[in-house]
C-alpha cells in the first residue's frame, strides 16, 4: 500500500485548467521531488492534496484511506502535513509556542509520550532544527532562514506519515541551504516520507531518488534525476525549444 496515492486529480479556475489529470504514488520512506517552471501547477497540486482546495475530479488516498475533499485540519490530523512556500509563522507567539500549536492538535496531544510535557517536546523539535536558543523570541523577530526551519519544526511536531515541503529552500543563502539539505537528509534517515517541490534544482537533486516534472498542470516526465536531466521534453520546457 502506498503512503500517498494521487489519482486523476483535476482542477480548473474559470477557463484555466491548473491541474490536469495528475496521478502518482509515493512509497513509504521515499523522497519524491516535483519540479517544473512557474505556473506549472505545483502549489495548486499541493493545495489539492492537503485539502486547501477541493478538486473538480480525482482522488487522494493516504495509506489507502480516501481523504479527498476533507478539510485541511482533518487531513493534517491523519498524518499528511505540509509546509508553505511563503512562511506563515504565528508572528505574535514566541517560537516555542509556534510549535506548541501543532502539539495542541488532536494528533499532537495523542502522541506525546506521557513522561514529557508539550513544552519539552516542543524544545526537542526546536533543537532538531537548531532553533532552541530562540525559543522565547517572538516569531516576528526571526530571520527568514529561521522561519523556514520553524515551518519544518511545526510540521514535524505532528509526527507525520508524509510531509509535503513547498519550496523549503526558497530565499535561503548557501549556508542555510546546506543546513536545510542536511536536515532533510536526517529526516529521511529517520524514515520519514517526503514530497518536495523546489526550484533550486542542485539542492533538490542531491536529496531525491525520483523526480516528477510538471508543466501546464500535467506531469510530463518521471524518473531519476539523471534521466530527467537528459529528457528532451524537460529541457525544452525549461529552456525553450532546442534548436
Amino acid at each position: 500500500m502506498y503512503v500517498l496515492e494521487v489519482k486523476n486529480l483535476t482542477k480548473s479556475f474559470g477557463g484555466l485548467v491548473a491541474v490536469n489529470n495528475v496521478s502518482f504514488q509515493v512509497d513509504e520512506g521515499e523522497i519524491v521531488g516535483i519540479i517544473g517552471p512557474n505556473g506549472a501547477g505545483k502549489t495548486t497540486l499541493f493545495n489539492l492534496i492537503t485539502g486547501f482546495l477541493k478538486p473538480d475530479f480525482g482522488k487522494v488516498l493516504l495509506k489507502g484511506e480516501d481523504i479527498t475533499g476533507l478539510p485541511p485540519y482533518k487531513i493534517a490530523n491523519k498524518g499528511l502535513v505540509r509546509t508553505f512556500q511563503i512562511v506563515r509563522p504565528f508572528r505574535h507567539l514566541p517560537t516555542i509556542a509556534n510549535v506548541l500549536v501543532s502539539l495542541q492538535s488532536y494528533r499532537g496531544r495523542r502522541r506525546i509520550e506521557w513522561i514529557k510535557t508539550p513544552e519539552r517536546k516542543a524544545m526537542e523539535m526546536l533543537e532538531d532544527v537548531g532553533l532552541s536558543d530562540m525559543a522565547l523570541e517572538p516569531a516576528e523577530n526571526l530571520s527568514h532562514g529561521d522561519l523556514k526551519r520553524l515551518e519544518i519544526a511545526r510540521a514535524m511536531a505532528l509526527e507525520p506519515e508524509i510531509v509535503l515541503l513547498d519550496e523549503p529552500f526558497g530565499g535561503l543563502n548557501p549556508v542555510e541551504t546546506e543546513y536545510m539539505v542536511k536536515s532533510i537528509q536526517r529526516m529521511h534517515l529517520d524514515g520519514h516520507t517526503m514530497v518536495i517541490v523546489e526550484h533550486k534544482l542542485h539542492a533538490l537533486m542531491k536529496l531525491v531518488k525520483r523526480v516528477l516534472v510538471m508543466h501546464n498542470g500535467e506531469i510530463i516526465a518521471e524518473g531519476t534525476p539523471k534521466e530527467i536531466a537528459k529528457n528532451k521534453k524537460v529541457i525544452e520546457v525549461y529552456l525553450g525549444k532546442v534548436v
Binding site: 508572528r91 505574535h92 514566541p94 509556542a97 500549536v101 492538535s105 488532536y106 494528533r107 522565547l136
Partner: protein
C-alpha cells in the same frame, strides 16, 4: 501646520498585541490595585462616584470578554452590546413571566448568552472580515426593531423592570454592597479570562488570529476554537449585562443595545472597542483599564454646560463640544500610547524585572502538569 497622521497609530495598535504567555503577570501591582479599590467606599467617596465605578466594573467585564474574542482570536465584533442586552433581557423575562428569583435567572442568562453565541457563531463564523463586521454590527440594531414591535412582551422603551439584588439594605449600604459585588465579579471574570488567554487554548486563539490557514495546517480545528472563544465571550458579556440590568439601570431596556438619541450611540458596542484601543488590544487587562479611563472621564467630568472664566471672558462649553473635546482627548491618548496605556505601564514594569530563563519556564510547566 503639519497634518497629524492619526490613523497611522491605529495600525500599530492592532498589529502589536501583547501575548504575555510566558510572562508572570504583575501580581503585586494587581493586588495593590484591588486593595485600593476595595477600600474606596470607606475613604469618603460620595455615592455618585461609587455608582460610576459600579458601571465601570460591569462594562469592564464586557470589554474583557470582547478582547478575548477580537484581540486574541481575531473575530471582529462590532455589536457586543448584543450580549449585554441579551443578559439583561433574559433575566428580566424569566423573572417577569416565570417569577423565578434572580439567583436562578442570572445563571440562566449566562448560559443563554453562551448558547446564543454558539448559535449565531455557527453560521456567522464562516464570514470573511468585512462581512463579519457588518453582521455583528447588524445584530443589536435588528434586535431593537423586534423589541419595539413586540411592545407588549418586551416593554417597549421602558423595558422590563428588574428587582434589586440587596433589597433589604438601606440605600447607602446597598450601593456599597453593589460596589463590592461588581468588583468581585470583575476580579473573578478577569482572572478567568486572563488565565484562558494565556493557556494553551489561548495560544491556539492567537494562532488563529495570526494565521488561520497556518493553524489549519497545524491540524487545528479552527472553527471549534473560534466558537469556543465566542461562547466564552458571550457568557461573560451576558453576565455583565444581567448584573448591569439589576444593579445599575434597574431595567432591561432597548438602550442596552442601541440608543440612537444618546450622546454616544451604540454605546455598549463601541465602549469595548475604544477601551481596548486605549488600554491595549489583546491584553485583557488593557480594556479593563480603558473602561475605567473612559467612564471616569465621561461620567464624572462631562457636565451639562461648563462655564468658566478666562481673563474676564466667560466661556461656555456645551455638552456636544465637551464630547468632541473628550473624543479628541481619547484620540490624543491613543496617539501618545499607540499600544495602549495599560500595556505601556505593564511593559515598563517588566523591563524592571529580569527576563525569565527558559529552563525556569520549562520546569514550571512540567511541575504544573505533574500535580
Amino acid at each position: 501646520m503639519q497634518t497629524v497622521p492619526i490613523a497611522r497609530y491605529f495600525r500599530k495598535i492592532y498589529t502589536n498585541i501583547a501575548t504575555h504567555i510566558y510572562d508572570r503577570p504583575p501580581r503585586t501591582l494587581a493586588f495593590l490595585i484591588i486593595i485600593m479599590l476595595s477600600i474606596l467606599p470607606y475613604s469618603g467617596m460620595d455615592l455618585i462616584k461609587l455608582e460610576i465605578l459600579i458601571s465601570a466594573n460591569l462594562i469592564a467585564i464586557l470589554a474583557a470578554s470582547w478582547d478575548l474574542l477580537v484581540g486574541r482570536t481575531g473575530q471582529i465584533s462590532l455589536g457586543h452590546a448584543l450580549f449585554f442586552g441579551l443578559g439583561a433581557y433574559t433575566t428580566a423575562l424569566f423573572i417577569k413571566y416565570l417569577g423565578w428569583p434572580f439567583w436562578i435567572t442570572i445563571p440562566i442568562s449566562v448560559i443563554v448568552g453562551a448558547g446564543v453565541a454558539l448559535t449565531i457563531g455557527i453560521p456567522c463564523l464562516r464570514l470573511k472580515g468585512p462581512y463579519l463586521a457588518l453582521v455583528t454590527m447588524a445584530f443589536p440594531l435588528a434586535l431593537q426593531g423586534f423589541l419595539y414591535y413586540y411592545r407588549d412582551i418586551f416593554g417597549g422603551e421602558t423595558g422590563i423592570g428588574l428587582p434589586k439584588i440587596f433589597p433589604g439594605l438601606r440605600f447607602f449600604d446597598r450601593i456599597v454592597a453593589n460596589y463590592y459585588l461588581s468588583l468581585a465579579l470583575l476580579v473573578l471574570s478577569s482572572i478567568i479570562i486572563y488565565k484562558i488567554a494565556t493557556s494553551k487554548t489561548g495560544i491556539i486563539f492567537i494562532s488563529i488570529l495570526d494565521d488561520e490557514i497556518g493553524a489549519k495546517a497545524c491540524a487545528i480545528n479552527t472553527t471549534k476554537y473560534k466558537l469556543m472563544s465566542l461562547a466564552i465571550s458571550g457568557l461573560f458579556g451576558s453576565l455583565a449585562g444581567a448584573f448591569y440590568g439589576h444593579i445599575v439601570s434597574g431595567s432591561a431596556n432597548p438602550r442596552l443595545f442601541v440608543d440612537t438619541t444618546a450622546l454616544m450611540p451604540m454605546e455598549f458596542s463601541l465602549i469595548p472597542i475604544i477601551a481596548a484601543v486605549l488600554g491595549g488590544v489583546g491584553t485583557i487587562y488593557g480594556p479593563i483599564v480603558g473602561v475605567y479611563i473612559y467612564q471616569i472621564l465621561y461620567r464624572y467630568i462631562l457636565r451639562d454646560v461648563i462655564t468658566f472664566n478666562i481673563f474676564g471672558y466667560i466661556v461656555t462649553v456645551d455638552r456636544h463640544m465637551q464630547l468632541f473635546i473628550f473624543i479628541s482627548f481619547i484620540v490624543l491618548l491613543i496617539v501618545k500610547w499607540p499600544r495602549g496605556v495599560a500595556r505601556a505601564i505593564v511593559e515598563k514594569l517588566e523591563d524592571l524585572e529580569e527576563p525569565r530563563e527558559l529552563e525556569e519556564i520549562l520546569k514550571e510547566k512540567t511541575e504544573s502538569k505533574q500535580m
